[in-house]
């Protein structure tokens, strides 16, 4: 019987010796999953994908390039109407809003980065490895958000500063020209970074919630770009009341230099947009926790 002849006898009473394993016993006691370690793991996962570097670079380049170009091509006669649509160019131009022309585009890139970080785990099957290592699951979501949010915030704040500084010579002598030290300029630029940091987390939440890169990217574009347009179909009175609370409108209030009458204050805008992100995160956490992976 060749089938069984090759087998060696089982020895069930043999003591369990793990020292025979490649790693000595010393390491056995020390392994433990902790929040910091999951964060460390997500940090490593984030930087070890080529797509991360590409998408981050695209986001920052879009931010800097569009801002600088908008500043250089500005002429007071053709008021902002030649600028690309989006939250950055809300009618009357100022040096900051020109410098932040690229925020809309950067928000898509950075949101997609968040989606890829999260939904990419589902499309590749990596999620099974991730959840096998961290079966409590939720630390994976928090850690992804905690990794990408600050990274996006720091890099895009620097990008916004660069866009402003690069654009300043282009506005030299114009009426709207501003210096970095002028009132509210730094706050606006940092606000753009804050907004984009939150958009990155929003992308992560959508990715975990929808578990599909395509679906989550569509939702991201829908919420940030299409929803405000669709909402203009609402009756005027409704629209005026509701529109400041839409995610993208609340978000653009965070980095607007001048508070416009039909928008929220920066603080309120931040609170509302962060609220949207938090709601999505809660939905993502619920689905991650409750449904089979």
């Amino acid at each position: 019987m060749p089938a069984t002849a090759l087998r060696r006898k089982q020895r069930p009473d043999q003591p369990r010796t793990l020292s025979a394993a490649p790693d000595p016993q010393t390491s056995r006691a020390s392994y433990k999953v902790t929040g910091i370690r999951v964060l460390r793991s997500e940090w490593a996962k984030f930087w070890t994908l080529r797509s991360t570097w590409i998408t981050l670079a695209v986001a920052v380049v879009l931010l800097v390039l569009f801002g600088a170009i908008a500043s250089y091509t500005y002429s007071p006669d053709a008021i902002a109407s030649d600028g690309p649509p989006g939250p950055g160019s809300g009618g009357d131009s100022d040096a900051v809003s020109l410098a932040l022309t690229g925020v809309t585009f950067a928000s898509l890139a950075i949101g997609v980065l968040g989606v890829l970080l999260a939904a990419g785990e589902y499309s590749t099957g990596m999620i099974r490895s991730s959840l096998a290592a961290v079966p409590r699951r939720l630390p994976v979501l928090w850690s992804k958000a905690a990794v990408i949010g600050p990274i996006a915030l720091v890099l895009t704040t620097l990008g916004a500063l660069a866009a402003f500084q690069l654009g300043t010579p282009g506005l030299d002598g114009e009426k709207i020209s501003l210096a970095l030290s002028d009132d509210g300029v730094l706050r606006s630029l940092a606000g753009a970074g804050l907004y984009l940091g939150l958009v990155a987390i929003f992308g992560v939440a959508l990715g975990i919630l929808l578990r599909s890169s395509a679906g989550a990217i569509a939702a991201l574009v829908g919420v940030l770009l299409i929803l405000p347009g669709l909402a203009s179909l609402l009756p005027d009175s409704w629209y005026d009341t509701l529109s400041p609370y839409f995610p993208s409108n609340a978000g653009s209030a965070i980095y607007a230099l001048h508070e416009s009458s039909d928008a929220l204050s920066p603080g309120a805008g931040l609170a509302v947009f962060a609220g949207w992100v938090a709601l999505t995160l809660i939905g993502a956490a619920y689905r991650l926790r409750k449904t089979d992976a």
């Binding site: 087998r7 089982q10 069930p12 020390s30 392994y31 089979d292």
Partner: protein, 309 residues
């Protein structure tokens, strides 16, 4: 030790795993067998908490998987489906998992070497062949130096050398006292390595037995003996628990005595043998017989095909 108790998983009105109870013990290799669609992968996913059972429970070393503080140290798993981001290198993939547990880089390097992946460790996993992917999966299963190793179809896509490597590796792990569970839909492959068999079909337990018992119950192979003095040999070999049948004038089929005994008896009495062949039971046939009614996707002329196999 893995203990499943009345484990049940339903998707809608389809029951994939049906009141399944079994135990995977340390120090032995447990083969988890069943035809495609029998519920093997779903069961394994429930063991490590990827799917939650509809009813019943399964514990790993006495607790549900998610309650362990270092789950990768309790049980290492290779799932059938790919569970790796193709854009990451093997070493980065393993490091990402290692970070969650505080497993040092030296251990990552060890398992890479153990799996024979040293030369491709920094390559993107997307470029890996099926066999290399399996080796990476086994490397990640061993990462936490776990007491239990659970592998879903581990030899899929491996070349013969790789199959032998897996076989020896699993045997060694069991000899170190670890519990090894491997799933397969191939009886012959599993019988080479397993001590214990858990056979399921349509999510139900069909047999929980040892390979030896299964082989014996399958009908015992017997030994085919050919000699010109078949009649005389027949009386020489006779004894309690020995049955001898004969299909032709010079051939005997003996059960109850092994080749060594028969050869010795024949030599003692000067009977010349010109054939002495142990008849291997077709374990595969016995397995198919057992699972026949539980095959999920039955091909139309299944019976004739099976007998041919």
């Amino acid at each position: 030790m893995i203990e499943a108790r009345e484990l049940t998983k339903r998707y809608g009105d389809k029951t994939v795993v049906d009141h399944l109870s079994f135990t995977v013990k340390p120090g032995e290799v447990t083969g988890f067998l069943g035809p495609n669609g029998a519920g093997k992968s779903t069961t394994m996913r429930m063991i490590i908490g990827l799917d939650s059972p509809t009813a019943g429970s399964v514990t790993v070393n006495g607790r549900s998987y998610s309650r362990h503080s270092a789950p990768l140290q309790e049980i290492g798993t290779l799932l059938e489906a790919k569970s790796v981001h193709p854009g990451r290198s093997a070493v980065n993939h393993l490091m990402a998992l290692a970070h969650t547990h505080g497993i040092p880089r030296s251990r990552v390097e060890e398992v890479i070497e153990l799996a024979g992946l040293t030369s491709v460790a920094t390559k993107r996993v997307g470029a890996f062949s099926l066999g290399m992917g399996q080796r990476l999966g086994i490397a990640s299963a061993l990462l936490g130096d776990p007491g239990i190793i659970m592998l879903d179809e581990p030899v899929n896509g491996l070349d013969p050398e790789g199959v032998l490597w897996v076989r020896n590796l699993l045997r060694r792990l069991a000899e170190e006292g670890r519990a090894v569970m491997l799933s397969s839909h191939l009886m012959s492959e599993t019988a080479l390595i397993a001590d214990h068999l858990v056979i399921i079909g349509r999510g139900r337990l069909l047999a929980d037995t040892t390979v030896e018992d299964f082989t014996q119950e399958a009908g015992g192979g017997g030994v085919k003996v050919a000699s010109t003095e078949a009649v005389r040999l027949r009386s020489l070999l006779a004894g309690p628990d020995v049955t001898i049948t004969s299909s032709s004038e010079e051939e005997l089929l003996v059960t109850g005595r092994d080749t060594r005994q028969i050869g010795a008896i024949a030599a003692q009495h000067g009977v010349a043998l010109y054939e002495l062949t142990p008849q291997s039971v077709s374990l595969e046939a016995a397995f198919m017989d057992l699972t026949r009614d539980a095959v999920e996707y039955q091909s139309a002329p299944a019976d004739t095909e099976r007998k041919a196999a």
